[in-house]
Each structure stands twice: as C-alpha cells, then as structure tokens.
Symmetry: C2
Subunit: 403 residues, 2 copies
C-alpha cells in the first residue's frame, strides 16, 4: 500500500511543505479541537483561520443555506455583499469602501496596484522579515519567504519595532534611500502585529511617526490585518487601532470567513476614487454570495459571542502563565496573538514537536524561528489555556533535557 | 429608502462594474436557470463557473458534508486533496503534479513565478487581447484590461490565431523582438480557446509550431485552461488537446469547483522540480478540504453525467442554428464555448441587453466587443438551446431595427 506521504510526493508539487516531524493526518474538527485519522484529539492553538472555532454551527449553517440557494458573482446585484460590506465598514471609525478577493495575497497585491497607480511611485517599504503574500508582486515584498525568493528592486526593508527602538527612523532612512535611487515611495506596508518578524505590539503608538513619514514622502500606508484583524488582539477589532493611526488601505484575509476562502481590501474613498474610475476590478470568486454569507456569519459570531473580549481575557491570562517559565525569555503580543521567545530556533522546533506529541498544536516564527507562535481560535477557554500552558511546560522540560 | 445601486456605490469600491443596462438582482439558481428578486427566471447562457449548473445537488452535498466536518490547509495531511489530485491528473496523458490556489489569477501568477525562476528569463508572450488575471503581474500580461492598465516592459503581444493566419509567425517575431531588447523569453501563454481575443479554435493544430518556437528559445508553454478546461470544448477535457500539444504548465480556474473558490496549476514534474526544491509555496485556502471536496464532486459530475459529450452535441446543434442568422457574420468555438460575430460592438451590446430583457443571459467579447460570447452550463439541453437561439433571433431583430 502506498503511504500517504508517497502519494503526496507523487501527486503534489514539491513546493508543498508539511508541519511537524510527524505530520498530522486530520479527519475532523470542532471548536478548538482537531481529530486525526487515528482518533487522537489535538487542541488547536495555531490556526487563526478559524476565529470562531472549527465548524462553528452558525457559520456552517450560513454557508450551507447560501450554497443551496445561489453562488454567482459581483457583476450581478446581490444583497448579501452589501449587507456584509455595511457590517464590516461599520467597524471602522472613518469612511471606507470595500473590494473583495479570494485571499490575503490578492488583497495585498491589489493594494500594491492601487498605491502605484495613485502615487506614480514604485517604492515599497516593509519590515525585515515581513510576509505579505505569494503572488509574484507580494512575494517580492515578503523577505520571510527566504533568500531563494528575490526582493523587488524597488523594495526596501526596515528593522522591526523591537521595544526601545525607533521604528519611524528606519522608515525615514528607507525613504531617503529610495529617493537616492530615484525611486518615488508608493507605500509603507506593515502587518500590525508583526507576526513573522517575531510579534511586536508595544509600546502602543509606535506606528504614528512612521505613517507620518511615508505620507510626507507622498506614499500611502497599508495596514495588513490578515494576521491581527477581526478582534484577535483583544482590545481592538483591528491591529492598527492600538497604535492610533488611520490607514489609507486595510487588507483582510485568513479569519474573515472562518475557513471559507474570502478576503478583501478596505480603502478610504478618496484613495480608491482615482483607481476605481480608471480601472475596473473583477475577481470571479471574490465577494460571491457564499463567501459573503460565510464572512457575515463569522463577523456576527465574533461580535455576538464577544470573541474579542474573550481573546483579551484568556490571552492576558495565558501570557501571564507563560511568562512564569524561566526559559521563555519574553512573552509578547496582544489578545490571542502571542509570541513566546526562546533562546534559539532548534529549541523552539523541539518544543513545537513535543507539544504536538502531547496533543497541542502551535508553531514557531521570527527571523530565527525561535518565537513560539500561539494563535488559537478566539473561543479558547481558560481551561484550554491551562492545558496549553501545562503542555508548554512539559514540552520545554523534555526539549531542554535534549539540548 | 436607499436603492441597491446607491448602497453599492456607497459601500463598494468604484472599480466594480455591473452587467446590463438594467442590472440583474439575483436571488436563487438551479440548473441552467437563475431567478431574480422579482421572481423572473433567466436562462443562464453565460456563466462557465457552474459547468454542472447552479446548485447541483451532488456538489452542494459534497460541500456541505466537508464544511460540517473539517476545513484546514495543506500543511496537514488530508486524503481528499490526494484523491482529487489523483482524479484530476488522470485526465492528462502525461505525468504531472498539482498545486492548488484560490483563483485562476493566482494560478497564472504562480506559473509566471515558476517560468521566470526556471528559465532565468523575464519575457512573456501573450495574444493581443489576452486576459490572464488581475494580480499585478497577471494584469501586466492582460491587454484586454484596457489601456489604463500598462503592459509589463517584458511583455510582447502577438496577433490572435484568426483563421488563415500563421500564429507561430507572430510568436517567432515576438521572440526576435525580445532578444533584440536583451530580454530572455520565459513563457508563451495562451487561453486555448482565445476567449477575450474573440474565440478561435480552428484549424486544430495551430499551436504546434508556436509551442516549438517558444521551446526553441528556452521558454515554457503555459496553457491557460481557465476558460476552455473541464470539457467545455466538447471533444476534449482540455482545450490544448485539440491542438495536439503538451504544455509545460496548465492553469485551471473558474469551473473547477462549480462556484466554490478553487483553482490550480498543473506542471510537468521536470518543470516544477527545480522551483519546488528551491521555493516553498503555501496558499492558505488553496487546496483546503472543502475546496477539494467541491472540485472532486464537480469533476465526478462532469464525468458521470457525460457533460463533455453533452457540450459537444448541444454545442454543435446550437452553432448550426446560430449560423442561420444572416446578420451573424461568423459562428466560432467548440462545444459550449461559442463566439458569434456581429458587425459591431454597439449592435452586440444591444443584442445582449435585448436578450436579457427576454430572459436569456449572454455577453459580448473580443477587442471590438462585437462577438456574442455564449458559454452556458454544460448541462444545457437542446430545448434550452432552442430557446436561446429563438431569443438571439428576436433580440437581433429589435437591435437591428434600432440601428
């Protein structure tokens, strides 16, 4: 019998990678739990794609009802796209308009098209280990993809906002360097929780001067909320809000449809006006009625079940617990987006794999892969946080013993 | 009360466009029929996204079952992605491996990344009015998006394969021109039914010399099967097959999941090997279990219900009927991808709108927008073809009277 790994190697592109030394072969999911084909249960503390938990009944019901009724596209009128846009845009404190895509990559890619069209510039500034997507153009602004993927000639990187450093100073230097090369700045893009850079959230407000700098140079500011959006950071619906800035564009993705492929780009009307009147944008599946039904149900569940508040309270509790491990050098993040820094990437990898063996799923991130990335569904309970914390402790102990 | 058009203008980006002078406000769909909010029924002869018809029970059931069970991603093992890849790749007569994305744009964009990585070249050759996507890089190779969207500096266009012309000669000239500019050719891309160029399918075999030319120059050949794939052309599962060529890469999209957002790129193993070992590719929603369940059910329905054969017989019948209208200069295409050429775009636009008023949905295409584009679900019956044909006649009469 051909093993599943052999089948995969034969049938799928070699670009595919699996998590864990002992990959997970999954069958079903419910709430914060995943079950594999052997009947083993795993606490999912990693997948931010399901903020409401796996297979949330209300979201499943919305997807089923609309799938049975109609699934077309945005060149016909349909109420659900407008109802959802209305509900989504009501979460922003400034006027905005929505465009819907299939993926966060497509949303960021569209933002680049818009920024370059509007500003006439080409230069894009990102953080040193940023991740913004896998299209040709978003991969060019994603240094975290590794050295085999070239950065674009018009891309400049800046140091991440490590506590105590001046983030805006890096942005100002990058602007000077772009000008020195005759490149007009088009955009500063940041993932507002700086996930792949290692999770940086403090001190609140560190984005203000950077946004002022890019605007002063004629560029736009894109807040990539694919990681930090939809209440994950606990105190605000959007990651940029904690820093008191108003972006020109906001990209949305992963958690938006609780697993259904849906993403989008929110723009200030004055920003999108010129692009929109010059250039039509049609995305076959983007904003289709089922995607919008999934997104609407997800947003309603996040709001009605107070998932942001839960992310805040359980996240605060969990960070306090994690901070008690002396081998965790630093615990960062906000709400249920948590980075726990270990001394090195090998140790983090061992912890991640030991935790998987003990039934809890997390991963590691950061330029040195030494930051435990903990990103459970927003429904996580204190009891599940206790389990997670205990397993971190047990895994750390074994991993350290093998160092 | 705010009208739906005003709500749309307020909430959505001005890049959105609607079909028809009197836009359609839809509520439900079943088979080849769509129903609007006023209870009016429309024969859908345009939407190739639903090859099996709207809300096909077997496909809906597959989506529902998997949505209720689990929806994660490709960094865990799951059987359904392998079962589907197996079934999909069995439809090709040569060895291949699959990568899954959310949209045809993402698939073509990935093909560009791969071609440039492998060949070390940048040059891409497309037809004069090609459409390959809306990401930054695919928009740069999509002249049909209009003059407000710049083609890339490394992109060359060639005349479409109008009957009696030498398509390969254009490709060879483009290669010479690329070399003259010091640009190494990376890829020739064609939509194998040449949809946005005006629908060209005859004589079978006209791609052979063009493919030989791009390979001779060190480039790859990408068959964009987003329009012509999955049996639509009636005699073959894939549009390239009618021309007797074997592409290096094949991009799939629209019809793949009967409306569920799923797309993909199929590559020959020797082509993808170098890219795959150097570069990881992860697409959050691409290849997720629900997308794969939708795609599997769609492929099974196409095969089990003989939809390709139906596309052939009903398409042949419909083309014969349409060819009897003296104001239709030419009827082209294959299977249920039909282009009916009128004298000018204004007339075509009037016919499209008059048909909509009479309950049949089609559209116009081609560089002069004068080709009626007829692309119904592959389940279309002869009776529905008769209705379509009658409505074309009635609409033509009214449209001509107003010329």
């Amino acid at each position: 019998m051909t093993s599943i790994l052999e089948r995969r190697q034969k049938l799928l592109s070699p670009s595919y990678r699996l998590f864990y030394d002992d990959p997970l072969h999954l069958l079903s999911g419910r709430g914060a739990w995943l079950t594999d084909v052997h009947g083993h249960r795993f606490l999912d503390a990693y997948n931010n794609v399901v903020p409401a938990g796996h297979c949330h009944p209300r979201i499943v019901a919305a997807i089923v009802a609309q799938t049975e009724r109609l699934n077309t596209h945005t060149r016909y009128l349909h109420d659900i796209i407008l109802d959802y846009a209305d509900a989504l845009l009501a979460t922003f404190s400034f006027p905005a308009q929505a465009t819907f895509t299939c993926s966060g990559s497509e949303a960021n890619d569209l933002a680049i098209r818009i920024a370059r069209h509007i500003t006439g510039g080409e230069g894009i500034i990102v953080t040193e280990n940023a991740y913004h997507g896998v299209t040709s153009t978003t991969a060019e602004i994603s240094p975290s993809l590794g050295k085999s993927v070239n950065l674009g000639a018009h891309v400049r990187t800046v140091p991440p906002p490590v506590a105590g450093t001046d983030f805006a100073a890096g942005v100002r230097s990058a602007i000077v360097d772009l000008h020195r090369h005759g490149i007009r700045p088009a955009m500063l893009v940041v993932d507002t929780i700086f996930s792949s850079d290692g999770v940086f959230s403090e001190p609140a407000g560190f984005l203000i001067d950077a946004v002022e700098a890019i605007r002063g140079a004629g560029g736009l500011f894109l807040a990539d909320e694919v990681q930090s959006g939809f209440g994950r950071t606990g105190t605000h619906m959007w990651g940029f809000e904690r820093h008191g800035v108003e972006p020109d564009m906001i990209s949305l993705g992963k958690p938006m449809g609780n697993g259904y492929p849906v993403a989008g780009l929110v723009c200030r009307p004055d920003v999108i006006k010129k692009f929109g009147s010059n250039i039509r944008y049609f995305n076959t599946f983007g904003g289709n009625p089922v995607a919008m039904a999934a997104a609407m149900a997800t947003l309603c569940v996040i709001q009605d079940e107070n998932l942001m508040q839960n992310a805040h309270s359980v996240g605060t509790y969990l960070r306090t617990q994690l901070a008690r491990y002396k081998h965790i050098k630093d615990v960062r993040g906000a709400g249920l987006f948590i980075g726990a820094e270990l001394t090195n990437g090998q140790l983090a990898s061992r912890v991640v794999n030991e935790m998987r063996a003990r039934g809890v799923l997390i991963n590691a991130s950061g330029p040195n892969e030494n930051i435990l990335k903990i990103r459970p569904p927003l429904i996580l309970s204190n009891e599940q946080a206790d389990m997670l914390n205990d397993v971190v402790g047990a895994a750390l102990e074994v991993a350290l013993a093998n160092e």
